[in-house]
């Protein structure tokens, strides 16, 4: 690291979580600053998490003061008071620790050129969490701008081990050379899988069956992080644990819907060692050091190898000791997935998203920010933007269209020329037309556009947190749901606040939170396929799983890697078609939409479908005949286009794109007023623009972003191409063992109360006995 720093070379440091890599990134800077502190901003540190900047700040101050150096280091985030921010711009510290959004803000001030002129080094932490997404695009543009203001700037990227380090390198380089430094894992994590014997469920994702085992594990360790996949699951498991927690072990809850102060409180209790366990969603995936944590429990399938490692890395945050983790699969298929994940960890394999081309909406935001600071000509800006990896292939005409959007909206009907937001000054440089434009930019900076959230408040009481608006829309007064660790009754909507009272006697209707479920990665899906084929491995698995797979090969056949297994069987008065695609839930969801359309046309009277991460099941009144033509690749053509046009996907994406691009302002806290107000939804704008100017740059950006969000469609395409001519159709007289889990998913998506649970159990027994019965 030091050698690269002395040579002034950019560097990418790949190290396992907890490798002390953050301080490593600062080595070069501290060495340089030791003799020359106090001459302006020297090093900028950017991390995706506010909490992480605070943490790193603390860890940085200690060695600086121990060495008796006069180096100043400060943080700057959304929490920094106004007066301090102003002072930081006038007299910056030697080292400034910040987030991508705060950096974008700093770059939008007129004195940015002055502030960053002395900058020698920029350090980006948790690079792997930024590069593949839209925050990474904004940061890449910010880095390009920094490169323009401080030529010769050294870039240091700190990342967990990733599957494609070349992507990181390209992102970081900005066209220059990057030295890659790879720190190998010295201690592999010790991972075990807990299958809870015969209680292993056939289906479901909640993992509450394992509450006893999880509580035992918590009891046997100092501090345990219990990771789950969705917020609904977090709430349910938290309740299940407390129901049997007779010793009152201190078990907390942490997820993105809880009020910020509540989350901070849990975090600091965790840091102080005051908690025995926290049930958490991905909100605790990244960053801060919890020294006391000595066990990580992952409930439900890990969905990806890198994600699993990130989570496991939360325990024993030290290089020399192995992390300890227990995986708790919540159903039989997940056992396979957990096994595949453990194998991948043992073989040092990783998965991850590849970054795509940068979004035009993010570029629009950046251009407006540059105009706020002023002093750049469009020609120079175009050259500079192309040094950012996501925009390397941006055409000049694409750039000009985005610039036209920023200036006047860029509409073909050029009626807004008199309402320019951005103008050219006498030197031909971009400038904002009024201070109001800059103010509005600064209020709306960032690429994280959350789904509309509503505050949840007790009747005559406190705010409990926030909940997705669309979930609230599914409630009627009197419905009960679990939130913030308590059973609540929905009373109604008061202005923009959800009013609740302590829970009633009915079964809770658990929030079906959006975005909680990540699809299975391609890599892990492949692992599951391989495992299914490997009969020798089955013997080593938990008895219920081995039995189940054995029965499948008796009743039907085990899916093979180079074939697509499709089973067709009658049940009740319906025919079921189950395809074992293993392409993840989102891809299967899309496949379900398209497949039912085609079956409709073929006169098969499809009635519904259900998708899991592993399979898709469609049921219809008539059995499918020619499966090969049903699953033909051409369904991704017209059928997909039609479906996209009808679905709300494009509208939702448009909202995000329009906010990022600065067409729609975010609704900021404190601005909501009374319920007398009329909401003006982005759908209205989308409809009008779609009808009158379908080629507008924002609609183009919307389609690109939507298509990227649907990486699953690419997966679907690959799968259908692979399957062509290799579909193995099995016509059975009854349900197969492997099909039982997906059939049990039918109708359980929304409600997960225990009465329903028992109904399902009854149904399951019927299904299971029919599936596992010996062949007549």
């Amino acid at each position: 690291m030091l050698a690269a720093a002395r040579a002034g070379k950019s560097a990418l440091l790949l190290a396992p979580t907890g490798g002390g890599k953050t301080l490593g990134g600062f080595l070069g800077s501290i060495a340089e600053l030791a003799g020359s502190a106090g001459t302006g901003l020297h090093t900028l540190y950017v991390s995706p998490l506010r909490a992480l900047t605070q943490d790193v700040h603390r860890n940085l101050l200690a060695p600086i003061s121990e060495m008796g150096l006069a180096i100043t280091a400060e943080t700057r985030t959304g929490d920094t008071p106004q007066s301090k921010r102003r002072r930081q711009r006038m007299r910056p510290p030697d080292i400034l620790l910040t987030t991508p959004e705060s950096l974008a803000l700093l770059l939008s001030y007129r004195d940015a050129a002055h502030m960053f002129a002395t900058l020698r080094s920029v350090i980006i932490d948790e690079l792997h969490a930024l590069v593949p997404n839209r925050r990474g695009e904004l940061l890449a543009l910010g880095l390009a701008r920094l490169g323009g203001l401080a030529p010769g700037l050294r870039r240091v990227g700190l990342s967990a081990t990733v599957s494609c380090p070349g992507d990181m390198e390209a992102w970081l380089s900005g066209g220059g050379d990057v030295e890659r430094i790879h720190v190998a894992d010295t201690a592999r994590p010790r991972i075990s899988i807990s299958t809870c014997g015969t209680r292993l469920p056939w289906s479901g994702h909640m993992g509450t069956h394992a509450a006893v085992e999880i509580l035992d594990a918590i009891r046997a360790h100092r501090t345990t992080l219990v990771f789950v996949n969705t917020r609904a699951q977090a709430e349910l498991l938290f309740q299940a644990l407390w129901r049997i927690n007779h010793e009152t072990l201190e078990i907390g809850l942490h997820h993105g819907s809880l009020a910020v102060e509540q989350r901070r409180r849990v975090e600091s209790a965790l840091a102080d060692g005051a908690l025995r366990a926290v049930v958490a969603t991905s909100t605790l995936d990244l960053g801060v050091d919890w020294a006391a944590v000595d066990l990580v429990v992952q409930v439900g399938a890990p969905k990806g190898v890198s994600r699993l490692l990130q989570r496991i890395g939360r325990s024993n945050h030290r290089l020399d000791r192995p992390s300890r983790a227990i995986l708790v699969p919540s159903n039989r298929f997940e056992v396979l997935e957990c096994e595949a994940a453990v194998q991948a960890v043992d073989r040092d394999q990783r998965d991850g998203d590849r970054p795509g081309p940068g979004g035009l909406d993010v570029l629009a935001q950046h251009l407006l920010g540059v105009a706020c600071a002023g002093g750049v000509r469009p020609d120079d800006l175009y050259r500079e933007v192309r040094t950012a990896a996501p925009y390397r292939t941006l055409s000049r005409s694409g750039f000009d269209r985005v610039l036209a959007f920023v200036e006047t909206g860029g509409y073909a009907l050029g009626v807004y020329d008199r309402f320019r937001r951005v103008v050219r000054d006498h030197a031909g440089c971009l400038a904002v037309a009024s201070p109001a434009v800059a103010r509005s930019y600064r209020l709306n900076v960032g690429t994280i556009v959350e789904t509309p959230m509503l505050r949840v408040r007790m009747r005559r009481g406190r705010i409990l947190g926030e909940i997705e608006e669309h979930f609230v829309q599914s409630l009627v007064p009197g419905d009960t749901f679990v939130f913030s660790g308590r059973l609540l009754r929905y009373e109604g909507l008061r202005d923009v606040t959800v009013v609740v009272s302590p829970g009633g006697g009915r079964e809770p209707k658990v929030p079906a939170y959006a975005g909680g479920r990540l699809p299975l990665t391609t890599h892990l899906a492949d692992g599951v396929r391989t495992l299914l084929e490997d009969r020798a491995a089955h013997a080593g698995m938990a008895a219920p799983v081995a039995e189940w797979l054995e029965a499948q090969s008796r009743v039907s056949v085990l899916p093979r890697r180079d074939r697509l297994l499709v089973e067709i069987f009658p049940r009740g008065d319906r025919f079921y078609l189950v395809a074992y695609c293993f392409e993840g839930r989102n891809a299967h969801q899309t496949l379900g939409m398209l497949l039912t359309r085609r079956m409709e046309r073929a006169g098969l009277d499809p009635l519904g479908f259900v998708a899991t991460d592993y399979v898709i099941a469609v049921w219809s009144l008539k059995p499918a005949g020619d499966v090969g033509s049903l699953l033909d690749r051409d369904m991704l053509g017209d059928d997909l286009e039609e479906w996209m046009a009808e679905s709300s996907l494009l509208r939702r994406t448009f909202r995000t794109v329009a906010v990022i691009a600065g067409l729609i302002e975010r609704r900021l806290p404190g601005q909501e007023k009374t319920g007398r107000q009329v909401t003006f939804s982005s759908d209205l704008i989308y409809d009008v623009l779609q009808r009158h100017e379908p080629d507008h740059v924002l609609l183009e950006a919307t389609r690109t972003v939507a298509a990227r969000g649907l990486t699953d469609i690419a997966r679907l395409g690959d799968m259908l191409a692979r399957a062509a001519g290799r579909i193995e159709v099995r016509r059975l007289d009854r349900v197969s063992p492997l099909a039982v889990p997906v059939l049990l998913e039918i109708g359980r998506e929304r409600v997960a109360g225990s009465a329903l649970e028992s109904q399902l159990e009854e149904a399951a027994e019927d299904l299971v006995s029919s599936a596992m019965a010996p062949v007549r």
Binding site: F419, A433, Q671
Partner: protein, 276 residues
């Protein structure tokens, strides 16, 4: 088109959101909000400038379907007092063309209190045609046969498995409130508090579908009219007790804690819904 009786008048609800009174050869539209896009553009938000054209397209189609002798625009026909000056010659020409040969009435609204600057018609504060009266905003107190706009009612209908939402007509035995007609006019859910003093407990909505208008009984149980009794199950109580000893205490500490560092207002940015 859906026929219904209201205070002795036989009316039709058009899927576009227009109201037709065939006996009087009259059509009513509410809240056109013409030139709203340009109003935002002048404030640094360049919304697509096609809203006025789009609204006029829809109006033209509705007029072609019903060929009314009289057209009543129920107020808020333009978004602001400057709108008439902002209109392009093309827009003015289109309005004049639509108004030719019919009695065109601009009712005053809160966005356009003096609509006499608008082309093509005459302006009125309200219009009484027994048994109905047409005004922009529903009047306080008891009324009969009142047809108004202003509130931009919309509704959510729960169908099997999915929820659809959109603009709607809402009526009880005395009042009828029209949906907003304008392309950029948003909506207010009929369960919102604002409708409480206007509607009786029993009301109906007329919900425009793609081809016809559907009729639903109003779900007249919004908060706070109905507050259920609180019953706690054994399970719920037990949970509340065990958790409360420690967890609720922890959360409570946080709400009046000293940590002023994360003020809630600075912490999270919210969704992006325009408010008007």
């Amino acid at each position: 088109m859906t026929a219904f009786d209201f205070c002795g008048a036989s009316l039709h609800a058009d899927p576009s959101g227009a109201l037709v009174w065939p006996d009087r050869r009259l059509m009513v539209v509410a809240d056109l909000h013409l030139e709203k896009g340009a109003w935002y553009a002048a404030r640094g938000i360049p919304l697509p400038p096609y809203d006025t054209g789009e609204t006029l397209d829809r109006l033209e189609a509705a007029i072609a379907r019903h060929r009314p002798d009289r057209l009543v625009c129920l107020g808020d026909s333009v978004h602001d007092g400057d709108a008439a000056r902002r209109m392009t010659p093309e827009v003015v020409r289109r309005i004049l063309g639509l108004a030719r040969g019919r009695d065109w009435i601009w009712i005053a609204g809160n966005h356009d209190p003096e609509p006499d600057t608008l082309p093509g018609g005459r302006s009125l504060a309200e219009l009484a045609l027994a048994p109905l009266v047409f005004r922009h905003e529903a009047a306080a107190g008891p009324v009969s046969g009142e047809v108004s706009g202003h509130y931009h009612p919309r509704a959510r209908i729960r169908l099997r498995g999915r929820t659809v939402s959109g603009r709607c007509f809402v009526l009880d035995r005395h009042r009828l409130i029209l949906p907003a007609f304008g392309a950029y006019a948003g909506g207010l859910d009929v369960t919102a508090d604002a409708f409480d003093p206007l509607l009786q407990v029993e009301f109906e909505i007329l919900f425009p579908g793609p081809r016809r208008v559907y009729r639903f009984a109003g779900a007249a149980e919004p908060y706070p009219r109905r507050v259920g009794t609180t019953e706690i199950s054994t399970d719920g109580r037990r949970l509340a007790q065990t958790v409360s000893t420690w967890w609720i205490e922890l959360l409570r500490k946080s709400s009046n804690s000293e940590s002023s560092s994360s003020s809630p207002s600075s912490s999270r940015t919210k969704a992006c819904c325009f408010r008007m």
